[in-house]
Amino acid sequence: MSRAPRFATVRTPGGMSFRFRPRAFAVSGACLLAALGLGVLLIGSGDFPMGPADVVATLAGRGSPADSLIVNEIRLPRVGTALAVGAALGLSGAVFQSLVRNPLGSPDILGFSQGAASGVLAVVVLTGGGSVAVASGAAAGGLATGLLVYAVAGRGAAHGQRLILVGIGVAAILTGVNGYLLTQANITDAARAVLWLTGSLDGRDWSDSAPLLVALAVLGPLVLAGCGRALRMLEMGDDAAHGLGVPIERVRTIMLLAAVLLTSLAAAAAGPVSFVALTAPQLARRLTRTTGPNLLPALCMGAVLLVAADWIAQHAFAERRLPVGVVTGLLGGGYLVWLLVTERKTGRI
């Protein structure tokens, strides 16, 4: 279906060589530009609208103090969080889909988002804690769920199908637990928790997204540079990958851990925003027209999707500002149905 990818090679005099796909890089660059452009638009929009040129000038430090307050203190953290959350979700989605070899195998279907949500709900309902407690609750919940799924799936977790099924079961259990926690809260906490459960960027500042940004800075290069090639080989099957010298179990464990951490911290920053992790790698794959995990394009695509969804959420319903998770949920749901119908023909789902 997809054409054989064209490679470009760069050789250094010292005998080092670097082989890459120009199209994938072009797509990543275009997505990055689009994400930044939409980010500038998003910063410029709100109760106090600004033109894109003013926004860029203010960001560069040449704006009036009032503009600077609005842009740098209020709107930039929100857009920065959106970009980081989108990037983290796109990357972890690409890793999961590659590991389980299924286009639907994304963290929100496998239960990690629900696990992070359980952690947060427990913190909100039981202690009413602040943003640090919420973030650690999300990370703990997500990691615990990841460990549980991996342990229950057993040594055969290599078997992507079983990992998926166990994840679905755990997700269903956790959904019930979340519902229970929700009924235990008083109505104010419940409304806050539902807002968080949908995924929202309202009122985010740097302290909310700091853990995620650190994780992206550390895990991003690790995943992209360290394991991208091994992941591509794993897609050929365990035996082939083993024959090519890939330490299968180690790569898989590292990748799962990194992806679960990214998902959980993204959930801590903005709530379990649904469907970005599912759609971003798929869209990226269609744009790059190459097989393989497409990690970098998926990361950039995730950032674009989330910023675009936030823009829609703020503008589509004139007087009403929706949380971003509603828009990703609705658009992602539509995309999903389309995916189910078309992929059925190719038998890949």
């Binding site: 199908q161 019930g176 519902g179 419940a190 539902v194 749901g333 189910l340």
Partner: protein, 357 residues
Amino acid sequence: MSLMKSPQAVAGAAVPRTAVRARSGMRAAGLLGALALLLAVLVLSLAVGARPLSVGQAWNGLLHEDSASYTVVHQMRLPRTLLGLLAGVALGLAGAVMQALTRNPLADPGLLGVNAGASAAVVSAISFLGISSFAGFVWFAFAGAGVVAVLLYAVGGGRGATPARLALAGSALNAALYSYVSAVQLLDTASLDRMRFWTVGSLAAAQPSTVVRVAPFVLAGLALALLLARPLNAMAMGEDAARALGARPARARIAAIAAVTLLSGAATAACGPIIFVGLMVPHLVRALTGPDLRWLLPYCAVLAPALMLGADVLGRVLVRPSELQVGIVMVVLGGPVFLYFVRRPRLARRPRGGAAA
């Protein structure tokens, strides 16, 4: 060579026939036993609660208008018990029919999003159209359940569909529908207050009028499902074999989807989305009766409500003085069962006849 039957073969054919007769006797006895169990759980459900009654008191309260426990039993416990009975019958049968139809041992109306479809439709009806009576939103529940059932069958049914694919498609749909449900709830905090209890699946708010309204739909679904036992049995052997045996697969398929829609739509409208009942009960029953749907379906119709009411009673006892919603008890009970089935190695690899399992 098949024309000439050896005497041993003829004699051999006769032995299974008596064996079959003995087995069906045992199955009938088992069904009676299951009915007795259901009756016991029904009485228990009338007796257990915030104000515990003895079995005798519950019985008196049920029958005699001047008894001290008449009000408790008739106002609170009887509607709740009857609703649990109806919802249990509906969900168990819907699960069994779905498993047979999709030939997929993991099919469950809750897990696959049929109930979530009904929820999404009901939530929209409550929030956008201001409909608050059961009579109003039951039609929306049917519409939602029907759309999802058809969609799921289109995606996950038929040849080459693995259990994993269907489960995945279903849980993806579930995720989409629930994000819609919570979106609607966010825009409308007043209805969130009411719906947050409904969306976890609860019998606590049962009204006599709800019971009266849901009963005809469940009974219709029950009749339809029992009539489908024979054609679905034939279809377990594959479309061609079924056609050769005189079944009409296309018609049976439509009828089965209609039955699933009726049953899970009615159950969801009455007490919110409850998952895992439709998954657990048919598996349990299959171990008792074997794959023959003519026995499997009646057993499911009896044992599913027993499980449902048992879970409800458990939820009333576990966290006194508050109570746990039946949907949550069911998830905690059913989740591990699901994980157990998933861990069996042959499940994930190839499509397997659900009824022939």
